[in-house]
Amino acid sequence: MAVYKRGYRRYRGSLTGRWARFMVLPRHAWGRLYQQRLVILLTMLAMVWPVLCAGFIYLTNHAELLQGLEQEFRQFIQVDGRFFSIFMYVQAGFAVFLAALAGPGLLAPDLANNALPLYFSRPLSRWNYALARLMVLVGMLSVVTWVPGLLLFGLQVGLAGGWWFRANWTLGAGMVAGFLLWLLVLSLVAMASSAYVKWRVVAAGISLAFFFILSGVAAMINGVFRVTWGHLLDPAWSVNQVWCALLGVEPPDGPGAWTSALALAVLMLLLAVVIERKLRPVEVVT
C-alpha cells in the first residue's frame, strides 16, 4: 500500500497572522458575491447617483457655469448637510436591496449543510465567524455608501479648498458614521433572517419586509395612540433621526437623536442575540 511510502513532514514553517486568517472567509464570500450578475448590476446602478452628485459638486464650484441662473437658485444649490443627507437617502436604499440580495446566502447554506463544525474545528471562534460574515456585508455595502460619499467629500474639498474642509469636516465624519450605523443595522437584519430561514429567497424577502413592516407598525401605533414614540420601532426612521443630528439637518418631529440611537442599539442587541442563538456548531436537542 503506497500510503506507507509517503508520509508527511511536520510543518515547521511560519503561520499567517490572525487578521490574514480572519480575512479568508470574507475574501471568498466577496469573490462569490461578485460573480452574481444581479449584484454587479445593482452595484453599478448604485454608482449612478454618486456620479450625478459629483457633477453637482463640480457645478457648484464653478460659478461661471451658473451665470445666468437666478441668484435664489444659485444660493439653493450648495454642498452642505442637506446635500449629503439626500445623497445618503438614495444610497441607503440601494444598500437595502444589496443586503437583501447578498445577506441570505451568507449563513443559511452553512446552517443547512451543518457546516459550522467544519469552521469551528479550525482556529476560528463563533464570534470570528459571525464577524467575518458581518464584514462581508459591511464591506460590500461600503462600496455603494460611505466610500463614494467620502470620494464626493474629497472632491468638494479639492474644488472648494482647505477652508471648506475646516468649516465642514464634521459632514464627512458624520456621513461615514451615519452610513456605518445603517450598514450595521442592515447587515444584522440580513444575517438574522439568514440564520432563521434556510431558504434564501424567503430570507431575502424577510430582510426587505422587516423594514416595511416595522415602518407600517410604527405608523399604526402613532396613528392609533396619537403619539410619536412609535417611530422608534422603525429602524429606518431612527437612523434618519441620527443622520440629521450628525449632518446638522432639521430633524423630523418625533423622539430625538439620542433616543433613536438607543432604540437602534436595543434592536441591534436583539438581532445579535438571535444570531448568537442560531450560530451553534451542533444541533442542541432539548
Partner: protein
Amino acid sequence: MTGSASAEGYGETGGQANGQRPPAVVFEEVSKFYGEVLGVNRVTLNIPPGITSLVGPNGSGKTTLMNLMTGLIHPDHGRILMRGISPRDPEALMRITGYATQYDTAPRWATGFTFITTGLRLFGYGRSEAEERAWKALERLGLTDAANRKVGAYSKGMRQRVRLAQAIAHDPELLVLDEPLNGLDPLVRAETIDLFRAWAAAGKHVILSSHVLQEVDIISDQVVLIANGMIMAEGAIRDVRDEIEEHPSQYFVHCQDASAVAARLFGEDHVTEIRLNEDRMGMLVMTRDRERFARALGLIALDGHRIDGVMPADENVDALYEYLIGGE
C-alpha cells in the same frame, strides 16, 4: 500571531520522545446535558494513541463525545484533556486536531482543491504551503483527478473522501472522524483503513465512530462501547471480552474426530456447552476459563487427537455489542 514559534510548538507530539507516557485523550467524570436530555453521563476515559472506535446504537452519545473532544460543545461537569490540551483552548486544540463530521458539509460550489486550501488558509498556512498540502491530502485520498471539479459533481464516496482529506491536510496528531468509512467503495475503504493505521503507527490518535462492527473489529486497537450516554466498556477488544464473566468465551475448534474431542472436553468443569458441527469436523466450545481450556486442548492433542485449529468466536465487537448493549 507569532509565526514559526507557534507552529513548532504545536508540532511536538508530547512526551513520547522523552520516555514519558504517550499523550492520551482523557475524560474525567464528564457529563453533558442538553437541557433535560442526557448527552453523556459521568464518562471517564483514558484513550492511548492508536485507532479507537466509538461503538454504540443511534443516539447513544457517540457524536456528543466527538463534539466534546473537539470543543464544539463543553461539558457541564468534568474535565477533558486532548493530548494535554483542553478543548477550552480551541486555538491550540485545533492545530493538532483534524475533524470530519458525518454530514456532507463541503460546499457544492467549491472545487475539492479550493475546499481544502481554504480550510488550510484558516489554519494559518500561507498560500503555497496550503496548496502543496492540499495536493498531498488529495493525492492520499486518491482525488487528484477530481481536484478541480466542483464538489457538487462528486459522488457520495468522493465527498466522503474530500471530507477526510480536509481533516488530514494539516497533519494533525489527533483525528476525530464521525462515520468516516460510510459510502466508500471496498478499495478506497481498504486504502483509508491503511491510512488510519499509518497514522496510528506514528503515535497519533485516530478516534472514529462506525456502525459497521466487522470494520471496527478489523481496524481498532481499542473500542469504547457506549449506550444511553454511558460508557459500557473501554479498552482492547480482548481485554474487554475478558471482563465479561457472565458470558462464557466461545471457540471454534476444528479437528478430525470431533466426537472424541468433545467427550474429553465435557470432562472439564469450565466447559459449559459444546455444539458439534454437522460434518463432525469441528465444534463450538463455550468455556468459563480460557487458560484451562487451552491447557486441556493441549493435553488432548498430546494424546493423539488431531486439532487443526482453534479460533475465538466472540472476541469481536459484534459479540461485545451483543453482550453489553444488545440487551438494552
